[in-house]
Subunit: 405 residues, 4 copies
């Protein structure tokens, strides 16, 4: 790879990406463009502008954007249409944010004439894969720089030395080592490393940042109604809202009731297992509600096919293949199924749990007339079931007759 | 089908199966053998013996058996090795009990020279399918009688008239109609019908029988440790127990903390959607714990394959294909994966939720050395990740280069 | 089911469906509408009109249509985009024609105010299922009449007696029993029954009707070039043609060279195994060519996903679920993959085999630069492969280290 | 990676691996152990011994073994139980041989106290992955050396110079460049590269080495009967043979009749597409025959599950994951299905095609009684089909009723 001339850096304004910024300037002597996105991580963005300016980035090379609506509309919601969970439990909160960041990095590279992008993910994690596969899939000629895989700043001490040597301001609370590492966006907060590295030991309560503990949640349950149109949430308690507003509101509700905490050991794409603490309050409500509305509006054939495709779909997102033909194929199938996934679900939130307790829809397939224990006025002829069973049993009977020989 | 001469009836001792018993005698003039099983439904069995005798069944034709250990060991535990859930949520508590009952019906038919078996499931549900497919798969020549699909006792009134006309004792509380229908065994209690038929309306609290409401659960969390060997639970809090004892104990724990309640609309195999309230306290703990122990002992490749196979496996059980070559094939694959699924999981139970908060094992694949944020002493070379990504990206880059044309 | 008042019958003009026509009139006293379709079965349709008139059908109730283009464009081609084969070998020639016939039956019923449709498939086969599932999926209120499951004309003798008693003309060659049963359309000819019922015995050569035997095929190979656009064949040897014309032409070519014969024992949806002799000359060429063009234009991820979805897709079509949400979901995924499946394939036809020997495309993903044994000018860095393997091996190494303990 | 001290080299005795042998000695100064296997590639092995001795390998460090029986029994046959084909067409002839070679390399390393293994696969292909994943899965501490990824002998000229400089004898016909590259074993011969690199151009006939062209095959068809036990071929034309003998015999038969030629563009695991010419004469017969015997002995449920699992299984083998938990899980499922796959298949071989024309078995599930067009003596009640269809249609009818709203 020839040396990059101009690099778009995914820049948070924090210490680590500030060090990367400076390192790119000194190591490659290249021009740096910064991209700072509001994905709902709950941090002010303007300080990042100041930091970037301080580090010598020209104003026209500083990109600060609120991408929360795009994030929820084009990434989170399509994923929730699939009821995607990784390894049975993880709602993919980090995974789903990476493709959007890469997309903007590549787009800004095109706008600014940059030939490279850079990110602050380490060489041990999944995020490097997600950033880079996305970038390459969107621009096969882009260069990607991953300083953590390249430099020799392999300890906290060296990083701080580099920062000091390069006049990078170090916030007081960044002097010491953080007791764990955090990633956050509108969908979730993940925490991992350090005090969490022994999977036998329960995570200390101070790790949780976005949800109260179930013990501290209100003693009275709260009900919330979520309305869906074509598989996407469109209103809460009857009030229509934009995608990002809905997720924000669901986060508040879920967080207040201690919903969506997850303590997981997962299999990383790069081969080792890692332990993470995830908080996905709004997403947890959304998944439960989406399953609820599908339960009355989705045909069994479609629903079961979705369930079978889901693990693969979730794996693709986890592994970084959002921008791949196979993810898009699965999305086409999933989206096709959502045309009539309309209606409202009622959830009960209480001390850590969020459960569907009611659902209704103009597009319901639930037929009380068919299922009733009462007289059904001929809607269903029980004798048909005899033939149904007989024909389904035929191959098993032929098999049994053969096998008893 | 020629008329049956001797029928083995799945007999609970209750009003409905007593009516069936008498109806078989009068309709077919055939000898009836009763089979009453203790599957952990929580009812005394000896009254069923008295009832059967009262209805003229010869003592040698009355079979009363405690099959709880067989149920958990040979049916529930193998199913939980797969982390089986139907339509994302249902733990298959009713589905998994039916094959065992059919197996014993067919075996008793062989022992007693009966040419038919009979069950009390209606023509609208899944259970008829499960009973009959199992029976045919085990004996292709067996006759199966499903009175609910045949007779004209299509209303409560007619049933009671038949009972009275035939001197079948009617318990006082059976005079009126039950507000909903219940099925129970050691794994779960399901309730459906009547007051539950409108899926928009929250189930009244009196429906729940095996779990306290989360609101009434203890205000203090309780931790429990479940130990696994080859994928099956073998001890609770360090104390080894038999399979049925373990499930019983887990039911107590889960029930006390309000765990395992589920309000679900599901797609029946016979085509309509139905709404059920399920209580699976012990099973809910078991699933969470099994996922927990797998998370550190199961390789990612095996785990993901299991996740992909699971929906099919669950569907097969739900639909009644326990005794089918395809379920057995999947079981062979699943069981193969469990050889090293050993270790202990720590769950936190609190007001309706059961969450894994710690897990450890002699067979752990979790490598703190590999995953650590600290120096890893060369266990992992971050530069390898660059090549990994480059090669994985190659096809996407070729695609992007083609598609931009 | 209340008695039908007006029935649209899938009418071939042959003896069997003429008997059905008359039987419907006499049994149900209902008005009959006939629908006779040219699906490429190679029979004149006008005699069917005369026959229908002779049997008293009013001219406005006689529908005769050439649906070959619709058949190939909307059914055959979409299916071939999936490379669908049932049980590894069967190209689904009969299965794919049934939904179209049902669709027209239901549409004509709507046009003519009929409340029922009828077909001439027996109760032992798959076709009854395909006809009826399609009809119900398109009109849930339609009645379907399947005379073969209802009447008592259970022997050839009784059928002929009924025909004679009702003045239905019997062609001379229909007096005796046919040595086997045939179904044909533009995609294939299937033969089964009678002389073919013992699967151990090789089918006699006179069974084959649409292909010469490989032994009698030309002694010189012929090459043919098939051009695809978006996954569908659009030209042969550079000449653009309509869908039905292309399939007709491919049938000629394949038939001449003895291609597309298949002797198969298959598992019917209704539970038993049956043996069929299939001739699919054009389809065999089309499948080979489609695989060929996909091999250079389809990304590996998309291709493998298609391969994994295919058996399910084929099973759905075989079982009669063309008009089902799950088939449509899979179709959406498959169609999404075909956007750039453009280009030309060269096949060699010779004495029963059709093999792709060349393929080229403006949209090719094949990169000689990458794959070459020669210098590749830096297109590919072999050292990347080392990292790729190391990371992929990591989980296997952790596993091996654990398992050797 | 620290420098290896003793390396077991997969050694063919040819020029390339002789250069590797010398390069290992000079580059790493390490002791070399050679492993030369007879996998049925059709070359004498003793010359390899002489070559190795000439290059200074101690006699106790020269391992020459005939592994043909192990190859077919433990690798080829298990794979054929799955009917494995990669990307619809490729019989995995190269892929399946690699794990066996790695297994022996690792075992010999253990026996001889070597700490590394080495192979002669390039950095662009799949074989490096297969060799190395297998080696790491069997011994997580083994070092693997892949000289083609390391050295600077990047052109034919440099290789020959190195050979000359190191007194490595160069056979006359190795002076010039081969027009294509070949790999062979008892299952297949593959050819690729150079004259084959343009996938638009038909492969010249001189590429084919193991099969006559269909044009030159006998003008008369030949029938062969293959007998299976538990899914594996055990006899040809009634004569029992060992696994390797059977495959050898099938190769002769298939080769004589021009069967098993394949011209394929495939997606490599390392990301690019490549074109290969494969000859798998015996394997082609074996696959057709295995499908034939399964068609009468395997239940539909088992058969369809196998078809759905197959693409994944084939992909795992292609990608080098033979020794992985997920391949073993799938194998467990597949093997479970083969318990009654016994019987005999009759194939017709003629000018490039091999087709099943008859099959019979003591374990047949084919029931002429059920399938017959004649009277079936009550084996099957056609009226059952009506109920079967009605129940299967119910969800589609509910859907249609909803969707027409």
């Amino acid at each position: 790879m020839s040396a990059p001339k101009k690099v778009v850096l995914a820049y948070s304004g924090g210490l680590d990406t500030s060090i990367i910024l400076k390192w790119l300037q000194t190591e490659y002597g290249c021009e740096v463009v910064t991209f700072t996105a509001d994905l709902g991580q709950g941090e002010e963005l303007e300080p990042a502008r100041k930091k970037a300016e301080l580090l010598g980035i020209a104003p026209e090379n500083i990109f600060i954007e609120d991408v929360r609506e795009e994030f929820v509309r084009d990434f989170v919601f399509p994923m929730f249409r699939a009821n995607a969970v990784y390894e049975g439990l993880y709602l993919l909160g980090t995974s789903i944010a990476r493709p959007l960041i890469s997309k903007r990095l590549v787009e800004i590279a095109a706008e600014t004439g940059a030939d490279a992008v850079a990110h602050g993910a380490t060489g041990k994690g999944n995020d490097q894969v997600r950033f880079e596969l996305s970038a390459y899939a969107l621009n096969p000629d882009i260069k990607v720089i991953a300083p953590w895989r390249e430099w020799d700043l392999t300890s906290r001490t060296k990083l701080l030395e580099f920062a000091e040597a390069n006049q990078i301001p170090i916030a007081k609370d960044k002097r010491g080592e953080a007791p764990f590492s955090v990633d956050a966006n509108l969908l979730h907060t993940s925490s991992e490393g350090k005090v969490l590295e022994d999977p036998a030991i329960e995570a200390p309560d101070y790790v949780y940042q976005r949800t109260v503990s179930p013990e501290n949640a209100p003693d009275t349950a709260e009900h919330v109604e979520i309305t869906f149109a074509k598989g996407d949430a469109v209103a809460i308690n009857g009030e229509e809202m934009s995608p990002a507003t809905i997720l924000t509101k669901l986060n508040e509700l879920g967080g207040k009731h201690g919903c969506g905490r997850l303590d997981l050991v997962e299999g990383r794409y790069v081969g080792m297992k890692s332990r993470g603490i995830y908080e996905t309050p709004g997403g947890t409500l959304l998944l439960e509600a989406h399953r609820g509305i599908e339960s009355i509006t989705l045909d069994r054939g479609a629903a079961h096919l979705k369930d079978e495709l889901m693990p693969r779909y979730a794996e693709l997102i986890y592994n970084g293949y959002w921008f791949s033909p196979e993810r898009e194929m699965l999305q086409a199938a999933i989206d096709h199924s959502q045309a009539r996934v309309n209606g409202t679900v009622r959830l009960k939130l209480y001390k850590g749990s969020a459960q569907c307790v009611g659902r209704w829809s103009e597009d319901s397939l639930y037929s009380e007339q068919h299922v009733t224990f009462e007289e059904d006025a001929g809607a269903y002829d029980q004798k048909d079931a005899a033939g149904f069973i007989k024909i389904n049993a035929l191959r098993l009977k032929l098999l049994a007759a053969r096998d008893r020989k």
